[in-house]
């Protein structure tokens, strides 16, 4: 299904992924876990084709084709879905319209018949019940005034309607209460099948209690440092990422407030030049990081 091979990715001048390799076979659910700043979200965005990230090396093969050569909408039509960590508001565009436009755009791209309004309404009605969403919410603009939990449910609803072959969930579990967490887990389970796979990107083990993955990979410092079975997640939860015995994990030397970044791979930070909360140009000996690029 998905082969990621020695993937290098940068934003601006900073390389964030330093050679990620992993493989998700058909029908399997894999988890990618890692500390903040390890490159988890970058990996998710690169898979979806987000703009500011530049792939500088390696390859991603999805269903035998070069995923990185495809536009975001082509990836979606081919069955790749990214559940956003922070779903975007689209004022003025009703959620129902958004859903139908997306579904029919994908169907058109695949040469399938568009879904008429009646069939579409029936489909949405079935799926929204699975994620416990009120119909009234869907008449509102996309994520406009939605709570955090409603936004995540909306992501899962979209996933259920679009029925991707590969779902990538970028920290969809963060900030969710137990009910919403179950909605996410059930959503992925509903889609589960021999022909569908999922990549769960998460900081915590919480989601994995509801949704047991086939494999767990640990991403740290822009590389996969360990892979294992579901037990690895339990181990990480018990001992934390700090105990990971891996040369790939960089010491986090920056002081509090400078944002933890996986991009400082060599060199030292000259003292006193980084003020709290901002990173100014030229102060890091390995190169230039301009304000706003660090996460």
């Amino acid at each position: 299904m998905l082969l990621i091979d020695d993937l290098h990715a940068s934003i601006g001048d900073s390389e964030i992924l330093h050679g990620v390799s992993l493989e998700v076979p058909d029908g399997e659910i894999h988890a990618v876990m890692g500390p903040n700043g390890s490159g988890k979200s970058t990996l998710a965005h690169v898979l979806a084709g987000r703009d500011p990230y530049e792939v500088t090396g390696g390859r991603v093969i999805y269903d035998g084709v070069d995923l990185l050569a495809m536009a975001p909408e082509e990836r979606a039509a081919a069955g790749v879905f990214l559940a956003f960590q922070q779903p975007v508001e689209i004022p003025g565009v009703p959620t129902m319209y958004f859903l139908r436009t997306a579904l029919n755009a994908q169907r058109r791209a695949r040469g399938e018949e568009e879904l008429g309004p009646v069939e579409f309404l029936a489909l949405v009605d079935t799926k929204r019940r699975l994620v416990d969403m009120e119909r009234a919410l869907l008449d509102r603009a996309v994520n406009d005034g939605f709570s955090g939990g409603e936004r995540k449910r909306n992501e899962i609803l979209q996933m259920l309607i679009l029925e991707p072959r590969l779902a990538v969930l970028d920290e969809t579990d963060s900030g969710l209460d137990i009910d919403a967490l179950r909605v996410v887990a059930d959503g992925v389970t509903t889609l589960r099948g021999p022909d569908r796979s999922a990549l769960l990107i998460t900081h915590h083990q919480r989601l994995l209690e509801h949704l047991v993955p086939d494999r767990v990979h640990v991403l740290a410092g822009g590389r996969i440092v360990r892979s294992g079975g579901p037990d690895l997640a339990v181990e990480l939860e018990a001992h934390g990422y700090a105990t990971l015995d891996s040369p790939a994990v960089e010491p986090r030397t920056a002081s509090a407030g400078t944002a933890s970044i996986g991009t400082i791979s060599t060199g030292t930070i000259s003292t006193g030049t980084i003020s709290t909360g901002t990173i100014s140009t030229g102060t890091i000996s390995t190169g230039t990081i301009s304000t706003g690029t660090a996460r």
Partner: protein
């Protein structure tokens, strides 16, 4: 109620934006002396003051050169009776919104194309100037002459001088007109005569209420110049919902003004959709004269290649406890130029004023340009006034969100633009007026976000790409 027609009169070409514009006094035998005197006075005003140049504060961004290069002659009224080449019912928007529909061609009301109907509540009068001018009470004279000598600029005076007809809608106290009253203004040049000066006068008595739709079209022939003036006078607690659909040809020139005078507790809602005109300038000039009166002004301008849309808005809070809301949105593509020039004035003593003025613009190309000037002038204490303006491009995060769901980039851009416009379009209600507005917007390249989710996924929007070039002041 026959439309008065007169032959186009040849005039000297304008000598520039100064005095002596060559406007002649059109003496009309059938008009009363006070009206002829008023016309002479208006012409004298134009002669003394000239046409506005970009040195005038309210005309800073709109050059009249290309308009004044055309002969100043007014087109004569031509309706159904004029045979081939005239305006016919197939030129008019369908479906008719209701009854009555009044059709005005080159400023003259055309009875053959109008349906006044018998369904209007008792006492409501819809008539042309020919009828109104004969009424003994002098009301028409009072309305016509109220602003004499106090013109903000020459075009307003020119309407007084040249309007060959007027549509007068008179709503007696406590009448409620359920169906929208539709007035369709058609501009159709006749030979070298390009100008028309439509005039609409609406008077609502105490607690009367009605809905009025003005549609502006230009048909066939050379580029026309429309110079329209609508005067609205609302009595105590009267209510008027007013729409302007400006869909003239993109090689024509459109100037229109709405003058509103609001008595105590009355309420005016006026919504503009402007898509047409090489220059399209819709001016709003509202005085909140009575305590507790309220005005809501919404505007959407879709400005494309070679187009210039100017939106001067003046709201005057002249009494205590009045409320005003302004929300104007612009979508500017290609080398289009949009202008919002909003001026809010709170007069001394207008305590308890509650005013909001907002202008937001979307620039969709490198060459697109917007000038926005929201201005507040507050001369009273105890007021709540806010204003804001924004000029921006499509949100890249939202664009990626749509694309990540499979929506191709071009369509995704069109959806976002429509979402931006939706906030104004949804204020056009849910009935036939909304559909007219949506058709007009669609013809200008906007896709319509159907509330029933029934619209097809087809994209009709033209080339849209992110750009910059906005100026906010």
């Amino acid at each position: 109620m026959t439309a008065m027609t007169r032959p186009a009169t040849a005039r000297r070409p304008p000598s520039g934006t100064g005095v002596g514009m060559g406007v002649q006094v059109p003496e009309r035998a059938r008009e009363p002396e006070w009206l002829n005197a008023a016309r002479r006075q208006a012409v004298a005003w134009v002669d003394a003051n000239g046409f506005p140049s970009t040195k005038h504060e309210d005309w800073r961004y709109t050059k009249l050169d290309s308009v004044l290069a055309l002969p100043l002659a007014a087109s004569s009224g031509r309706g159904a009776e004029d045979g081939p080449g005239s305006v016919s019912s197939s030129d008019l928007p369908t479906p008719q919104l209701g009854v009555p529909r009044i059709v005005v061609v080159n400023g003259g009301m055309v009875p053959e194309l109008s349906t006044l109907g018998t369904s209007l509540p008792g006492g409501v009068r819809v008539e042309s100037m020919a009828g109104a001018v004969r009424r003994p009470e002098g009301r028409f004279q009072q309305l016509w002459t109220r602003r004499l000598g106090g013109y903000p600029h020459a075009l307003r005076a020119l309407n007084d001088a040249e309007a060959l007809d007027a549509v007068v809608i008179d709503l007696p106290a406590r009448t409620v007109v359920e169906d929208p009253i539709e007035v369709v203004f058609v501009s159709m040049p006749t030979g070298d005569a390009r100008w028309s000066h439509p005039r609409l006068i609406v008077v609502a008595g105490a607690r009367a209420s009605a809905t009025l739709v003005e549609t502006y079209l230009s048909v066939a022939g050379a580029p026309s110049v429309t110079n329209a003036l609508t005067q609205v006078e609302l009595g105590t607690e009267a209510e008027l919902v007013h729409y302007v659909l400006q869909g003239e040809r993109t090689d024509s020139f459109h100037f229109s003004s709405l003058e509103g005078h609001l008595a105590e507790g009355s309420r005016l809602s006026s919504r503009l959709l402007a898509t047409g005109g090489r220059i399209g300038r819709h001016e709003v000039d509202v005085v909140l004269a009575g305590e507790g009166s309220q005005v809501d002004l919404d505007g959407l301008f879709l400005t494309g290649a070679g187009q210039h849309h100017d939106n001067p808005v003046l709201v005057e809070h002249a009494a205590p406890g009045c409320t005003s809301r302004q929300l104007y949105k612009g979508v500017v593509t290609s080398d289009g130029h949009g202008v919002f020039n909003g001026h809010l004035v709170v007069r001394p003593g207008a305590d308890g004023t509650d005013a909001v003025q907002v202008n937001k613009n979307l620039l969709l190309s490198e060459r697109a340009e917007v000038d926005t000037r929201p201005r507040l002038e507050i001369n009273a204490d105890d007021v709540a006034c806010s204003h804001g303006a924004a000029v921006g491009r499509l949100d890249p995060e939202a664009l990626f969100y749509l694309r990540s769901r499979g929506v191709p980039e071009r369509e995704a851009r069109a959806v976002l633009v429509s979402g931006f416009a939706h906030e104004i379009l949804e204020r056009f209600g849910s009935g036939p007026i909304r559909r007219h507005a949506e058709e007009l917007a669609a013809a200008a390249g906007l896709i319509v976000l159907d509330e029933d989710h029934c619209s097809s996924g087809a994209v009709t929007a033209g080339t849209v790409h992110p750009g910059r070039g906005g100026r906010a002041q």
